[in-house]
Each structure stands twice: as C-alpha cells, then as structure tokens.
C-alpha cells in the first residue's frame, strides 16, 4: 500500500467520519428536542392536570365531625351525653401491606371473622384518605398493645371519639330514642359531605326526630401532608358547628315515678301540661337499654329484644293503638249536648241492656242490673253504657265521626317523636273503603262506648284530656319547646255545655257514686277523670305457653284519663294498663300517683294508694 493510497483512504475515511459526525449531531438535536417536546407537553399542555394531581397528593381534606347535641330534661338532668372513648382506625392509602396489617390487628384486638368481613366491606366503600373504623371502645390494655405494635402498623391510628351514652338507661328509651351506626338506606338520605365522618345517626325517638338539629354541621381542615400521610401544616380550617343541645319538656322525676307506677304491668303513661301541651312524662313499659344500640347491638341481644313476648321495643305511648273504651264517653256527652240530643238534667232510664228498634240483640251494660234513672252527670260518673248506646244511636256514626275528628282523634297529634300511629275513628267511608262492607247500626251503638273499630293512642287520649281540661282549646303535644303549637280549637255552640260534662268527670273521682271515687280519697286537690276498659284482641293473639301469663293476657286493658286541679288544670294524664283488668281498679290509682307528683303534693315519693280490684 503506497503512501498516496493510504492518504486517499485516510481522506476518504475522514470524509465518511465527518458525515457520520453530522448525522450524530442531527440525532443529538432530535433526541434533545424530543425530550424538550415531551417536557413542554407535560408542563404546558397538561400543566393544569398535573397541578391538580400534585395538589391532590399533598393536600388532604379532613372532615371534622361536629359534636352531637346533648339532650336534657326540663330540669337539666342529662338524658343523652357524649363521653370520650378510643377507637382504632386505618387510612387505607397509608397502609403498606393491608393483609399483614389486618391480621396483626385481628390478633392484637381479638377480631373475629365477622368483624374482619365488616372492616373489609367498609374499606371497599370508603372514600380515599378517610379513616376506616376497625374497633371502637378500646380498653386501656388494647391501647397499650397498639402503641407497642405501632412501628409495624403504618396507617393505623388510635383516635379519640365521642360515644353516645344514655345515663337513664331504659327509663326514656321511647322518648329520647337512640343512635346507631349509619346504615345503607340512611346513607342515601343524608347529606354525605356532612356525615362523612359521623359515626351515629338517630334511629328512634328525639334522636331521630331532631337528627338535623342534634347532628350539627361538619367542618373541614385542609392540611398539607407528606408522602407518608404526616400532617405538615394546616392550610385552611372551617371548624364544625356542634349540634344543638335539646332541653325536653320531660320531667325526669315524673317520668321515673310514672314508670314505677305501672308496677309489673305493661302499658303506657302520658302526662301533659294542659296549659301548653308540654309532655311531662311519656312512658312505654317494658322498655330496654338504648345503650345496647349505640355501637351496634349484638345479634343475641337483638334477638332477645325482638323475641321478648312483652315487646319492649314497641312504643306503647305513641305507636300502639288501643280501643279507648269508656274514656270517650264525655266526648259523646258533649256532642249530644251540642246537637241538642240530650240535656244535662234530663233523666234517662238505663236498664240492664239496650236494644235497637226492631232488633233483638241486647247491648249489655257493664252493671248487670242497670243504673236506673240517670242524668248526664251520673251517666258519665258511673259510665252508664246504656245511656251512651242510646245517644250514639240517635247521633249516628257520621256525627260521632265529625265530633271525634274535631277533637283530634283518628289523626296524629303531631308530637315531635317518630312513628306515631293515627288511631282510628270509624266512618261509613272508612268501612266501605277498607272493609268493603256497609256500616251497620249496631256498630254505631258500640262506638258510643269506645269499642268496636275505634282505636286511639295514649298520646291522643292525653291530648283529648287536655282539650277537655282547656274547654276546647287544643295544643299539639311536644317534647321540645319550639314544637309547641295551638291547634284549631274544638268549638261548641253553647259554652255552658262544658260544665255538666266536666262535672261528670269530677264526679267520677269526687262523688259517692263515681267509678273511681276511691282514687280521690285524701287528695288535697280536685281531679277530673274517666275510667275505661278495653277488650283485648290484638296482643292476646301472641302464642304463649305459660298458663298464668295466658290467663293474664286475656284480661281487659285498663284505662284512665284525667286532669287536675279541676278548677285550674296543670296536669293531664292518660294511663293505659295492658291486661290491667279495670280502669278504676288499676289505671286510676296510677294516674293519681302521677298527678300527686306532678302537682308537688308528694314530692316525687310514690303516693301509697292501694290498687283495688273490681269493675267500674
């Protein structure tokens, strides 16, 4: 190879090399431009998207749940309280290994498979970065154990929360109600943002009726966190607005006494202030401990409550309906006077039974021999069935329906508690629509003594008694003051007609012939009232194998309604004693105790009045 050739080759090589260098330079420019083009795409075109993502990374919104309002009785006794307790929660996004974390937690906290399944369910439904409850009501030992395992449990936090507590236990379960964990249906109803970190929702009673006011408004806190979920600083905070504390019209002492007054019977007591409709006591017995429900009732406890033949969960004061029996007779009298069908002094011969014209069926009086000649006063005081059979027949069901409805029967009183029943004042329309049958005259006859289809709740009877005490002025019953409202009054043409009816009620207690005359003995005030007895047909259908229970379940319900003092009413009471036998013997003495207490004559000591047997 000659020098020239080498040089030529070398020149050629160099030319090739230089061209390749140019290619390499172009490739370099293209490569770097490619990277810059990508950077421009991310940083300019997609800037807002990534800006949002970066903020989402670092900014978390913590919901600050409001403290639930507490509930007090009218004297400031606490009925529903919040007490701090500790619970474990996990934030899914901060957990590195979920399975390992859950199995360690299960070991430390002794969680069973059901509990774990619940937790998994909650984890699936949870919104990102919201804590998920693992276990509430931690013991000191569990807290200590968790602290020990903390390094192995990233994303697991022990949080202090407020647990709902009902210090009065069973006493007010049917008034205050209870809260429980929010279920799927409730989730659909509530404002999710407001309830995101709320543990409880009112399930029954005041807790449910006043849920919106008790709950309050959730606040939030926007915090900057690092990649490990540690809060670095608070960017913005909107404190929660705590729920409103509610003061009920209930008088805890009176409630306690009314509950005790029912003795071993099941039943209901409703005591109202006739001057404004305030409910001072509302008892449904038997009751239950609402604290069981707060953090989720156990299956066994719930089954026990459901299967209890005494049905403790059933609200006998507002949800149960009973035939009002003779307690509506004074309404009949009032209507009769207003319609001119009777006169106060006009005497009527009450034999042992009543028959409809051209019928042979005998509608018997409760007193086998009849009452003989009676006026309106005696008809009420002695609860003369035949007098009211006759009056009812002459009045007709349409008039009865109209007057009773004006008095508020057959309609919800509108008390500020959920699940109130309507009761029933039968009518021709009702029977045609519901039963598909025409109205029979005999049904009018028994409607006159509050039997047959007629049904009322204890709170309706208390409201009715209040209206009588107020001579037609009507109030809606309430447990929270701003629910108080006047209802359209019950009006009669001649105001003089009130007196004979109310006198009849007075003489039920204060006379030598009243059905409950023993109850008024020794009372330092005058009371007016009316006894009633209702035939049992609903509850007795339950199966029952205990012979003694069975017998008792066949007993009639005993009722008493009344108010006191007679000339200036301050308390009106309705008592329903299931299977109590007679109104005068069982229910009336209970009402007396409640009145004594409410009027302050016996303090809150139980009045020692003998509960007698016997009929009205």
């Amino acid at each position: 190879m000659g020098r020239h050739q080498t040089l030529l080759a070398s020149r050629h090589t160099r030319a090739v090399f230089n061209r390749r260098v140019v290619v390499a330079a172009i490739v370099s420019v293209i490569a770097i431009s490619g990277l810059l083009w990508r950077a421009a795409y991310l940083q300019v075109t997609q800037y807002e998207h990534f800006q949002t993502l970066a903020d989402k990374n670092r900014i978390r919104t913590q919901i600050l749940p409001p403290e639930r309002g507490r509930i007090f009785d009218r004297n400031g006794h606490i009925l529903a309280d919040n007490v701090p307790s500790y619970q474990v929660e996990i934030i899914r996004e901060d957990v590195r290994d979920l399975e390992a974390t859950l199995s360690l937690l299960a070991e430390v906290l002794a969680l069973d498979d059901t509990a774990l399944a619940d937790i998994r369910q909650r984890l699936r439904q949870n919104r990102s970065f919201d804590p998920v409850l693992i276990k509430s009501g931690l013991s000191d030992r569990e807290i200590a154990e968790l602290a020990r395992y903390r390094p192995w449990l990233p994303g697991v936090e022990v949080a202090s929360r407020l647990t709902r507590v009902y210090p009065q236990k069973h006493l007010l379960s049917h008034v205050v109600g209870y809260v429980g964990r929010i279920n799927a249906d409730e989730w659909k109803r509530v404002d999710r943002d407001n309830y995101r970190r709320t543990d409880y929702i009112g399930k029954t009673g005041v807790e449910r009726y006043y849920e919106a006011r008790l709950h309050g408004q959730a606040g939030y806190r926007r915090v900057e966190v690092d990649a490990f979920g540690r809060v670095l600083r608070v960017l913005e905070e909107q404190p929660p607005v705590p729920g409103e504390d509610l003061v009920l019209s209930i008088d805890l002492g009176l409630q306690e006494l009314a509950y005790a007054a029912l003795g071993e019977f099941n039943g209901a007591v409703v005591a109202m202030d006739p001057r404004d409709g305030a409910v001072r006591a509302l008892v449904s017995k038997p009751s239950f401990d609402p604290n069981l429900f707060v953090d989720g009732i156990s299956h066994a406890d719930y089954q026990a409550l459901l299967n209890d033949p005494n049905r403790p969960l059933f609200n006998r004061a507002i949800t149960a309906t009973y035939p009002p029996g003779s307690t509506i007779k004074m309404l009949m009298g009032l209507a009769g006077l207003d319609l001119g069908l009777i006169e106060p002094e006009k005497r009527f011969f009450a034999g042992p039974y009543y028959t409809l014209p051209n019928h042979s069926h005998r509608y018997r009086d409760w007193r086998r021999g009849g009452h003989g000649w009676v006026d309106l006063d005696k008809a009420i005081a002695q609860s003369v069935d035949v007098y009211f059979y006759d009056l009812a027949f002459r009045m007709g069901i349409d008039q009865i329906h109209a007057y009773f409805t004006d008095f508020g029967l057959g309609e919800r009183t509108g008390i500020d508690l959920p699940s109130e029943a309507r009761g029933l004042v039968p009518s021709r329309d009702w029977k045609r629509n519901v039963r598909g049958e025409p109205w029979y005259p005999g049904e009018t006859v028994i409607a006159g003594i509050g039997q047959g289809y007629m049904l009322a709740t204890a709170v309706q009877l208390a409201q009715m008694t209040t209206t009588l005490a107020n001579r037609g002025e009507r109030y809606r019953p309430w447990v929270v003051a701003d629910h108080a409202r006047s209802e359209p009054p019950f009006e009669i043409k001649n105001l003089e007609h009130w007196r004979p009816v109310l006198d009849g009620m007075l003489h039920v207690v204060h006379s030598s012939y009243g059905t409950a005359r023993h109850v008024g003995e020794g009372a330092p005030y005058q009371m007016a009232g009316k006894t009633g007895t209702a035939q049992v047909f609903s509850v007795a259908q339950d199966e029952q194998y205990d012979a003694e229970q069975l017998e008792r379940r066949l007993h009639d319900h005993a009722l008493f309604v009344g108010y006191a003092p007679y000339d200036a009413p301050k308390i009106s009471v309705a008592v329903i004693v299931e299977n109590g036998g007679s109104g005068s013997g069982t229910a009336a003495p209970m009402a007396r105790k409640v009145m004594d207490a409410a009027l302050g004559y016996y303090g809150y000591e139980q009045a020692d009045i003998e509960v007698r047997g016997g009929r009205e």
């Binding site: 260098v21 330079a25 370099s28 420019v29 990508r38 800037y47 990649a227 670095l232």
Partner: protein
C-alpha cells in the same frame, strides 16, 4: 515508517512533558459547559436533598474529584489509552467473570465486587474498555470495516455485554453495546449493515422479552404503558415523577418550593430522578436551559472528535460524545415517562459516584485526544 512516526510522537510528547513549561491541557469550552452543569447539579441537589448541606458538600466533593480525574487524564498522552485498551478490556472481562462467580448481591442483582478495600462495579470499566478496544481494533484495519471485522467487533462488544446482562443489569449492558456500536458507526459502517442490524434487533426483541429479560425488567417496560395499573407499587415512581414535572409548569414552583420533592412523594429524588425535582422547581424554562446545556456539551464533544487528527482519537471521541447523549437521553426519557425505568444517572445532576467518574474519565480522554492534534500538526 510507523516506528519512526511513533518515536517522533513519543519524543515530542516527552518534550512536551519535560522541556516546555508545564501547561495544563483542557478544552475551555467543554470545561465551562461541564462546570455550569455541575453548578446546576449542586443547586438542584441542595433542593432535592431537602436542604441537606452535608449531602450537598459530599456531592460537591465527588463532582470535584471527578473533575480532577478528568483533568488529570487530559494531561496524559492519548496513545496510552489505546495501547492499554486490550489490557483494560481483558482485565475488565476477568472482573466481570469474578462478579458472576462471587459478586455481592444488591437489589436483586450481582453487580458489585468487594475487593476488601473497595467495592465497585466492574461493568463501569467496560463503559470505557469496550469503546477503547473497538477503536483500537478498527484503527489498524482498513476502513470502512469489512464484514469479518464487524463480526470481530460484535464479539468484542458481545462478550462483556453478555456478562453484564447476566448480573443482570440491562441498562449498563445496553449502554456498553451502544458505545461499542457507535464506534463502528463512526468508522463508516455501511448503512446496509446498520439497517440490517436494526431489522435484526426488531426481530430478536420478542426473543429478548421471553427468554432474556427478567420479570422485574418486563414489569418496568409494562409500567411505562400503564403506570396506573399499580399506582402504589411499580408505577408509583413514574406517576409521581410525571406529576412533579407537569405541575412545574412553564416557570416552575421555584427553588426549594417543589411540593412533590419536598413532601417525599418522589422516590430517589436526589439520584436517578433528580431531573423531576429540577423540572418541578424550574419549569419548562429551566428544562430548556438544562437540555440546551447538555446538547451544547454533546455537540462540543463531537466537534472535538471531528478535529482530532488520529483515527483512534476521532472514533473514540465521537463515541464518548454519543455516550454522553445516551446518558442524558435515557435518564431524561425515563424521568419524563418515555422510557422504562433503568438505572442510568443524569450526568452531573444525579447524586452518585462511579458512573460520573467513568464518564468524566472518558471526557478527560477526549480532551487528551484533542491536545494530541497539535503535536501531530507539528509533524506534518
């Protein structure tokens, strides 16, 4: 004639070393660009480490050492590198075999060799040894390379690349292959070979996928297409990196103000993913500045190579320029979510030692090659 030439060049080198007043040899333009990059690296490193001055000092010391090594090498006669190439290559292959036999395990791969006093990755040596040996081989062969010569080159590249892939370290392996092949490219390898090779690569890619690549490597590639499939696991880094960059916007969040970096959302924010921190804080403007700096560096290296007189100098110099580009492109592509996650640092920005030293040694050689031009010029 060759001996004569060698002697005269040797005497002029020696004369340079002993007779003339000692003059530091370096390329001022390249040095300026590198110092600028190092400064940017330290500034963003300070932020990326969360204002950890100790770590920044440590980084400064390493970078400084790398500069010293570069400048020291720039003073050596370039021929030394090529003459030593076979020895270095052989030594490197031996070490790779040693690693394969009794290397330390780290992150699921055998990469480190613990010699008692020093732990290092022999694959780093190969980043220099492979282009050197290929250059050494081709420089004495007629160019453009003949087909048998190409086969020899492929063998020289394939052995160390295969050994590195066994570790397994796909990133370094591909880097080694690329630098070796770039020498071939600059030697004037016919386009038909290049196109043929690319076609072959496309053909064997599925085979690589099914028989060579480890599961974790496949995972990284898959993550590139769908990082959201595992947002808290393998996809996390890519997602957070892209979020950091994108949220930087045009002007950036400001130095020390990057939320992604400072709130620890960005793993490896000081090392392989430092570019994401920089992009978050300095925005597209900063990226433009940084990448133009890198491009200028690459182009300067190419220019130096083009000016070199010797064939060796040109081939090796141009390959070094491309090596630098590959570092920048692979790291940038990874951080920007264009390429799979492979452990390639960003020169002078990423915190970390050996790779930078190797690269700076290569740049030092480039400067040495450039200085040689003058002496050869004298001779003609």
């Amino acid at each position: 004639m060759a001996a004569n030439k060698f002697l005269s060049s040797f005497s002029s080198s020696v004369g340079h070393l002993f007779n003339s007043p000692p003059r530091l040899n370096y390329d001022p333009v390249l040095l300026f660009l590198l110092v600028l990059l190092a400064a940017v690296g330290l500034i963003s490193g300070y932020s990326a480490s969360g204002g950890d001055l100790v770590q920044v000092k440590r980084m400064a010391v390493r970078v400084g050492l790398a500069f010293v090594v570069m400048l020291a090498i720039a003073q050596l006669p370039a021929r030394l590198f090529f003459r030593g190439a076979p020895w270095l290559f052989g030594f490197g292959v031996l070490l790779l075999v040693a690693v394969w036999a009794f290397g330390d395990l780290g992150k699921g791969a055998k990469r480190w060799l613990d010699l008692g006093f020093i732990r290092f990755q022999p694959s780093e040596i190969m980043k220099l040894a492979v282009p050197l040996i290929v250059t050494w081989f081709l420089a004495n062969r007629p160019l453009p390379p003949s087909f048998p010569d190409v086969l020899v080159v492929l063998f020289l590249v394939g052995v160390p690349a295969g050994l590195i892939m066994l570790q397994p370290d796909l990133g370094t392996s591909l880097l080694v292959v690329a630098t070796g092949l770039f020498v071939l490219f600059f030697a004037g390898l016919a386009w038909r070979y290049i196109i043929g090779f690319c076609a072959l690569l496309a053909a064997i890619a599925p085979l690589l996928w099914f028989y060579v690549m480890e599961d974790y490597q496949k995972q990284r590639v898959l993550m590139l297409f769908d990082p959201q499939s595992d947002p808290l696991g393998d996809g996390y880094q890519i997602i957070q990196s892209v979020i950091a960059i994108g949220s930087g916007g045009l002007y950036g969040k400001g130095w020390m103000e990057g939320t992604q970096a400072h709130l620890d959302f960005l793993p490896e924010g000081t090392t392989d993913f430092v570019l994401a921190v920089f992009a978050e804080e300095f925005g597209l403007i900063g990226m433009l500045f940084l990448f133009l700096l890198y491009l200028a560096t690459v182009l300067r290296c190419l220019a130096l190579a083009a000016k070199a007189e010797s064939v060796e100098g040109r081939l090796f110099g141009a390959a070094v320029a491309m090596m630098f580009l590959i570092y920048v492109f692979v790291n940038g592509g990874m951080v920007l979510g264009l390429l799979p996650v492979v452990g390639v640092p960003l020169p002078l920005m990423s915190y970390g030692g050996t790779a930078l030293v190797t690269l700076m040694m290569a740049l030092g050689m480039l400067m040495a090659i450039q200085s040689q031009k003058r002496f050869l010029g004298h001779e003609q």
